[in-house]
């Protein structure tokens, strides 16, 4: 499953890039699984995703809960809680 990932704010800074394409293994079924997989993948992932409860997710342009399934997803954005206004 190829996914286009986008990172924002301190997630982007810690990952050292704003976007990348990934091919997670088949057992990465939900957004939470993806976050855990990225955290385990390398040092920058470990830094960005050390606290999964502080990560929010949007899948194909929709804000979703972290338990959302990735089946059929193309674009996944990962970011901290928003602070606009």
């Amino acid at each position: 499953m190829a996914l286009q990932l986008a990172y924002f704010a301190w997630v982007r800074e810690r990952m050292g890039c704003g976007e990348e394409q990934v091919e997670p293994p088949a057992d990465v079924a939900t957004a939470s699984d993806l976050i855990a997989w990225l955290a385990a993948r390398d040092d920058r992932g470990a830094r960005a995703f050390a606290e999964p409860a502080r990560i929010r997710v949007a899948i194909d342009g929709q804000m979703m809960g972290n338990d959302a399934a990735l089946a059929g997803a193309r674009d996944v954005a990962l970011f901290p809680p928003v602070t606009g206004g």
């Binding site: 986008a6 924002f8 704010a9 301190w10 982007r12 949007a58 342009g61 804000m63 954005a77 970011f79 901290p80 809680p81 928003v82 602070t83 606009g84 206004g85």
Partner: protein, 146 residues
Amino acid sequence: MIRVVVQDAAIDFATETDRHDAGGHGATASFVGRVRGDDGVTQLFLEHHPQMTERGLADLAHAAADRWRLPALTLIHRVGAMAPGETIVLVLASSPHRAEALAACTFLIDRLKTDVMLWKRETLADGAARWVEPRTADQERAEGWD
């Protein structure tokens, strides 16, 4: 008419209030949020998502227009770098009646703090930068509209 804008350029209050069709609507409420320099902040940077930020604001604007009678609604959020005193966000809501204009204005500013893809980073006088943490009080105010 609903108008939603995400822009890098400075927000000009007079231009926007002229453009907002407040004409015959009885009541217009507005809200302006500015960069505060009181914690030694020298610059505020607003990061956004190229598509989802504007869509999130538009969704909120339509949610407000479904909830209250709002013949004219303007919602403008600035992104990028800005200095203390500069306007971050402007809301203008017109309605036949004051309660609806004021409620819409409050709803929009409360909800955009928790629902829209925007992230604030502050730069201090010594050059250090920090991402602003979300406030529990903002979360609670936003949930009060559910």
